[in-house]
C-alpha cells in the first residue's frame, strides 16, 4: 500500500475529510499547540515557584528531583496530547503502522516546542532581572531548569530532553496495550514510592538501583496480572459462596487492622491522620447538606467553630465566667448540641432561598461568626483574638489521650459513627426526601415532603457532625483562635465533598485523603494548596463533575444522557452511532 500522508496546517474539516482519497490527514497545528499547552504549563509552574521549591527533594538521588519531575510531566503531557490527537485525527486504529513515524515526529515536535518555551523563559530571565515582577524568577530557578549547566549547554540539553521525551511518549503509545500499561504503572509508582519514602523515613530519594528494581518488579507483576487475571477471577468465582464471603470478611478485617495500626507509624503521620479524620468527619456532614439535600452551604466553618468554642469555653480553666470546668466527655454533647442548635437557627432564615443565594448567605454567616469571635466585644467570654488555651484532653479511665496517636482512635470512632448514620439515612425515607429536594423542590413539595422539616434536619445533621469535628479539633490543638476558623475551612471541606463525589460516603474518605493527606506529604507545595484546590474544583466541574468516587445515582444524572444515547444508537441506524460518538456530552457539552 502506498504511504500517503496529507499534510495541512490546521486540522481538516468534515468537508475536507469527505473528499479524502486514501491519504491520512496530519495537521502541523496539533503537535505545536500541544507543545505550547505543555510548555505554557511548565513556564507557569516555574514562575509560580513550584519547580524551584520542589527541586530540593530527590525522587532518584542525583538523577531526578521533584522539580525536574514536574517539568518532565508537563513535557509528557504535551507529547501525549500531540500523539493522541494526531492519531485520532488520522482516524486509524492503533495497529495501523502507516502513521507510526508521524506519531514519533508529532511527539518530538510537541516536546521540542514545550522545552523551547522553557528555554525562552531561561534566556529572558538570565538577561533581564524579572524578580521585580515575578518574585520566583530567581537565578536558582534557571539553574534548576538548565540542570545546573548554565545557559548555552543547559539550554541545548533541555531542548534535547524535550524532543526525546516526546519521542518516548510516542513510542510508548505505539506499544501493545498490556506492555504499555505495565511500563506506565512501573514508572508511575517510582515517584509515589520515592515521595512516601522521603516524607516519612529518610528525607532522601531512592537510589537508582532501587528505582530500577521497582520498575522491573511493578511492571513484571502488572504484566503477569494482566495475562492471568481472568483465570484468577474465574477461580475465585468457582469457590463456594461461603468461602467467597469468608474471603471478603477476611479482606475487611485485614483492612481494618491496617487502619488501626496506622498511628503506630509515629507522631507526625498520626497528626496527618487526625487531620484527615477531621476533614472526613466534616466532609460527611457537609455531604448531607450539599450532596444529599443539594443546599450549598459555604458557612459550614461556623458550626465547626461553634463546636470548638463550646468545647473550649466549657473545659478550659482559663474561662472563669461559666463558674465550672467540665471534662472532655462531659462537654462533648454540649459542643454537638450547640452546633446542632445553631444549624437550626441559621437554617430557619434561609429556608426560602435556593442555590446561589443560599451559598452567599451561609458564607456571610460563617464570616459573621468569625468576626464576632475575633472582636473585642465578646473578649471577656471567649478570649477575642487571644483565643482559648488549655482545653481538656479526653480521658478514658486511666488512659489520657494526650498525643496525636491516641486521639486518632476517638476520631476514627467518630467517623465510623457518622458514616454509619449517613449510610443508614441515605436510603431512608428522610434521605430520599433530601434527594427529592435536591432534584426539584417544587415537585418534592407537591409529593408531600415537608420542606421546612426536611431542610432543617439536613442543616442540623450537618451542623452536628461539624460540631463533633470542632470539639475534636479543639482538644487536638488544646488551644483555639478565631483565625483557625477562616472561610477557607469551608472551602476545603467543600473541596473534599466535590472531589470525593457529592452524595458518596466512601468518597469523603478519598476526598480528605487526597486533599488533606496529599498536601501534608507534598509539604513543599503547602503554599500552593489553595491554588491547587481551586484548579481541582474547576477541572472536576469541567471534566468529572461526579467526583472521584461517584454515587451511582449522581453519575447517572450527569452522564445518563450519554449512556442512553449509546443504548439508542447501538440499536439504531449506523449513521446515528457516528453522530452520538462524535457528540459532546449532552448534559455538560453546552454550546461548543
Amino acid at each position: 500500500m502506498q504511504k500517503k500522508i496529507r499534510f495541512s496546517w490546521a486540522a481538516p474539516t468534515e468537508a475536507d475529510l469527505a473528499t479524502t482519497d486514501q491519504a491520512l490527514p496530519f495537521a502541523w497545528s496539533t503537535p505545536i499547540l500541544s507543545g505550547v499547552t505543555g510548555g505554557g504549563l511548565a513556564v507557569f509552574l516555574s514562575l509560580l515557584g513550584m519547580v524551584e521549591v520542589s527541586s530540593g527533594r530527590d525522587i532518584i538521588s542525583d538523577v531526578l528531583s521533584m522539580g525536574q519531575l514536574l517539568v518532565l510531566l508537563c513535557l509528557i503531557y504535551a507529547g501525549y496530547r500531540a500523539v493522541t490527537q494526531t492519531s485520532s485525527l488520522a482516524g486509524v486504529g492503533d495497529d495501523d503502522k502507516r502513521i507510526a513515524p508521524w506519531l514519533l515526529i508529532a511527539g518530538a515536535l510537541a516536546g521540542l516546542v514545550s522545552s523551547a518555551l522553557l528555554a525562552i523563559l531561561v534566556l529572558i530571565g538570565t538577561t533581564v532581572d524579572l524578580t521585580d515582577f515575578f518574585i520566583r524568577a530567581t537565578p536558582n530557578l534557571f539553574n534548576v531548569l538548565t540542570l545546573g549547566m548554565g545557559a548555552p549547554l543547559g539550554l541545548l540539553v533541555l531542548l534535547a530532553i524535550g524532543a526525546l521525551v516526546g519521542i518516548l511518549v510516542a513510542a510508548a503509545y505505539l506499544l501493545p496495550g498490556r506492555i504499555r500499561l505495565s511500563i506506565v504503572l512501573g514508572l508511575g509508582l517510582i515517584p509515589v514510592i520515592a515521595i512516601l519514602h522521603s516524607a516519612f523515613f529518610s528525607g532522601s530519594g531512592l537510589s537508582l538501583l532501587a528505582a530500577v528494581i521497582i520498575l522491573l518488579v511493578v511492571a513484571g507483576a502488572s504484566y503477569a496480572w494482566s495475562t492471568s487475571q481472568d483465570t484468577v477471577k474465574a477461580r475465585v468465582a468457582d469457590l463456594s459462596p461461603t468461602r467467597q464471603r469468608g474471603m471478603r470478611i477476611g479482606a475487611w478485617v485485614a483492612a481494618g487492622l491496617i487502619v488501626l495500626a496506622l498511628p503506630l507509624l509515629g507522631a507526625y503521620p498520626a497528626d496527618i491522620l487526625d487531620m484527615i479524620g477531621l476533614y472526613a468527619l466534616m466532609g460527611l456532614g457537609l455531604n448531607i447538606v450539599v450532596g444529599f439535600a443539594g443546599l450549598l452551604d459555604l458557612g459550614y466553618v461556623a458550626f465547626f467553630a461553634l463546636g470548638a468554642y463550646t468545647m473550649g469555653v466549657l473545659t478550659s480553666p482559663e474561662i472563669q465566667w461559666t463558674g465550672f470546668t467540665l471534662t472532655f466527655w462531659e462537654a462533648l454533647p454540649f459542643a454537638v448540641g450547640v452546633a446542632t442548635l445553631a444549624g437550626i437557627v441559621l437554617g430557619i432564615p434561609v429556608l426560602g432561598m435556593r442555590g446561589d443565594y443560599l451559598a452567599i448567605v451561609t458564607l456571610g454567616f460563617g464570616e459573621i461568626i468569625r468576626l464576632v469571635f475575633l472582636s473585642d466585644w465578646l473578649k471577656p467570654y471567649i478570649g477575642g483574638s487571644n483565643g482559648i488555651t488549655r482545653i481538656a484532653k479526653p480521658v478514658l479511665g486511666p488512659i489520657v489521650l494526650n498525643n496525636q496517636q491516641g486521639l486518632f482512635y476517638p476520631i476514627l470512632i467518630g467517623c465510623l459513627v457518622v458514616a454509619f448514620i449517613a449510610l443508614r439515612s441515605k436510603n431512608s425515607r428522610l434521605g430520599r426526601a433530601w434527594m427529592a429536594i435536591r432534584e426539584d423542590e417544587d415537585v418534592a413539595q407537591a409529593m408531600g415532603i415537608d420542606l421546612v422539616r426536611t431542610k432543617l434536619l439536613a442543616f442540623a445533621t450537618g451542623a452536628a457532625f461539624a460540631g463533633l469535628a470542632g470539639a475534636f479539633f479543639a482538644t487536638k490543638l488544646t488551644s483555639i483562635y478565631p483565625h483557625s476558623f477562616h472561610l477557607l475551612v469551608s472551602i476545603n471541606v467543600l473541596c473534599v465533598v466535590i472531589i470525593g463525589g457529592m452524595g458518596s460516603i466512601p468518597g469523603m474518605v478519598v476526598g480528605s485523603l487526597a486533599l488533606v493527606g496529599l498536601p501534608e506529604i507534598l509539604r513543599e507545595f503547602s503554599e500552593y494548596r489553595l491554588l491547587m484546590y481551586g484548579a481541582a474544583l474547576v477541572l472536576m466541574m469541567l471534566y468529572r463533575p461526579e467526583g472521584l468516587l461517584p454515587e451511582a445515582r449522581r453519575r447517572l444524572e450527569l452522564h445518563g444522557d450519554e449512556e442512553q444515547a449509546k443504548d439508542v444508537s447501538a440499536a439504531d441506524v449506523p449513521t446515528r452511532t457516528a453522530a452520538a460518538a462524535a457528540g459532546t456530552p449532552a448534559v455538560l457539552g453546552g454550546d461548543e
Binding site: L47, L48, M50, D132, F133, F134, I135, R136, V290, G294, L296, I348, P349, V350, G352, M353, R354, G355, D356, Y357, A359, I360, V361, L363, G364, F365, E367, I368, L371, V372, L374, S375, D376, W377, V452, I491, L494, I498, E527, Y528, L530, L531, Y533, G534, A535, A536, L537, V538, M540, M541, L542, P545, E557, L558, V587, L588, G589, G590, D591, E592
Partner: protein
C-alpha cells in the same frame, strides 16, 4: 376567625418578624443613645458620609459586574472579586514605570492616571473574558450548582496564582502629588479629600455612561433581551454568545476601573484585596435587586454609606468596644436581612427563590 389567623401565621413567619423587630429595636436604641452621647460633631458625620459615598461608588461599579452577569446567566460570578483585583495589581507595574517616566507630576498626572487605568481595565476585562471562555461557557447547561462551584474554584485559583507569581507582600502604589490633601467642594464650604472627590466624580461619570449603554444602544437592548429570555432572544436574531461575552467585557472593564479608584483611596494592592470588596459588592447588588442595573448603583451607594456610618452610629451607642471591627460583619448582616425580608431588593423582581 382565630383559626384562620393561625393558619396564616406559620411558625417561621412569626419567628422571622420577631427577629426583624428585635433588630430594628436594637438599631433605634443604639442610634438614639449615640446621638444623646454627642461624641461626634456634625462635621464628623459629614466626613463619614463622604467617605461612605466614595466607597459606595466603588461598590456600585463592582456590583454592576455581578448584576449584569447574574441577569444574563443566572449565576453568581464568584470570581468577579478576582477580576477586580487583577486589574490594579498588574497595573501597579505600569504605574511604577509611569511614575519613573515622570508622568505622575503636577502637570501631567491626568495622562499617567489614564494610562494606568486603561491598563487595569484591559487586564480585568481579559481575565473576565478568559473566565467566561474557559470555565463558564462549557458549563452553561450544567446543573445549577456546577457553575457556582466552578466560579468558587476559579476565584481561589486566581487569588493564589497572583500570590504565587507576585508574592504575598503589599505593594504600595506611587502617590500623585497633585491629589494630596483636602479641598472645598466647589460652591460649598464642605472640605473633602481630593482623591475622594475624584473617585466620586469619575465613578458617577462611568455609572452614567453604563446606564446609557444599557438603555440606549443596540447592544444594551440585546443584553436586556437576553436576560429576559435567552431562547427567545436567539430566535429574534440576537447572537447570545456574543452578548454574553460583551457582558463579561463590560463587567470586567468596570471592575478594573473600580480597582483603580480603590487604589486611589487606599494606595495599595494585595492578592487578597478583592475578597471583601467583592462580597460587599455582591451584597450591594442583592440590596438593589440583582439583575437590575439602577438597583446595583443604588445598592452600592447605600451599602457604602451604611457601612461607614453604622458602626459609629449604632454600635457605639450600644456600648460595644471597638465597633469598627464589626464593620465587615455589617454587610453580611444586611445581606441576610434583605434576603429574608425583601428578597426583591430595593428595586428588583423576586429572583431569590424563583429563577436561582
Amino acid at each position: 376567625m382565630l383559626q384562620r389567623l393561625r393558619r396564616q401565621l406559620s411558625g417561621t413567619m412569626v419567628t422571622m418578624w420577631l427577629i426583624g423587630l428585635a433588630i430594628l429595636a436594637v438599631v433605634v436604641i443604639g442610634t438614639i443613645r449615640t446621638l444623646a452621647m454627642g461624641h461626634y460633631t456634625g462635621a464628623d458625620w459629614l466626613d463619614l458620609s463622604i467617605y461612605g459615598i466614595a466607597q459606595g461608588s466603588i461598590y456600585a461599579l463592582i456590583a454592576l459586574g455581578y448584576t449584569l452577569v447574574y441577569g444574563i446567566l443566572r449565576m453568581i460570578n464568584f470570581a468577579h472579586s478576582e477580576v477586580f483585583m487583577s486589574g490594579p495589581f498588574i497595573a501597579y507595574f505600569v504605574a511604577v514605570a509611569v511614575d519613573n517616566a515622570g508622568l505622575m507630576g503636577d502637570s501631567n498626572w491626568v495622562i499617567g492616571l489614564l494610562i494606568v487605568m486603561l491598563v487595569a481595565m484591559l487586564v480585568s476585562t481579559t481575565v473576565a473574558v478568559l473566565l467566561e471562555r474557559i470555565a463558564y461557557r462549557p458549563l452553561r447547561r450544567a446543573p445549577r450548582l456546577v457553575p457556582l462551584i466552578t466560579a468558587i474554584g476559579a476565584s481561589f485559583f486566581l487569588q493564589y496564582t497572583f500570590l504565587g507569581l507576585f508574592g504575598s507582600g503589599i505593594r504600595g502604589y506611587p502617590e500623585i502629588e497633585a491629589l494630596k490633601g483636602r479641598m472645598m467642594i466647589p460652591g460649598t464650604n464642605v472640605p473633602i479629600l481630593k482623591t475622594q472627590l475624584l473617585v466620586i466624580v469619575a465613578a458617577f461619570f462611568m455609572l452614567a455612561i453604563l446606564y446609557i449603554f444599557v438603555q440606549r444602544t443596540k447592544m444594551g437592548k440585546a443584553m436586556q433581551a437576553v436576560s429576559e429570555d435567552k431562547d427567545a432572544a436567539a430566535l429574534m436574531g440576537i447572537d447570545v454568545d456574543r452578548v454574553i461575552v460583551v457582558t463579561f467585557v463590560v463587567g470586567g472593564a468596570l471592575a478594573g476601573a473600580a480597582g483603580i479608584f480603590y487604589v486611589l483611596l487606599f494606595r495599595q494592592v494585595h492578592f487578597f484585596m478583592g475578597f471583601f470588596p467583592g462580597l460587599k459588592a455582591f451584597t450591594a447588588a442583592v440590596l438593589g435587586g440583582i439583575g437590575n442595573v439602577t438597583g446595583a448603583m443604588l445598592g452600592g451607594l447605600f451599602l457604602g454609606i451604611a457601612e461607614s456610618l453604622f458602626p459609629n452610629l449604632v454600635l457605639d451607642g450600644l456600648g460595644i468596644p471597638a465597633p469598627y471591627q464589626l464593620k465587615d460583619a455589617l454587610a453580611f448582616v444586611l445581606l441576610v436581612l434583605v434576603l429574608i425580608f425583601r428578597p426583591t431588593g430595593i428595586l428588583g423582581e423576586r429572583l431569590a427563590a424563583k429563577k436561582a
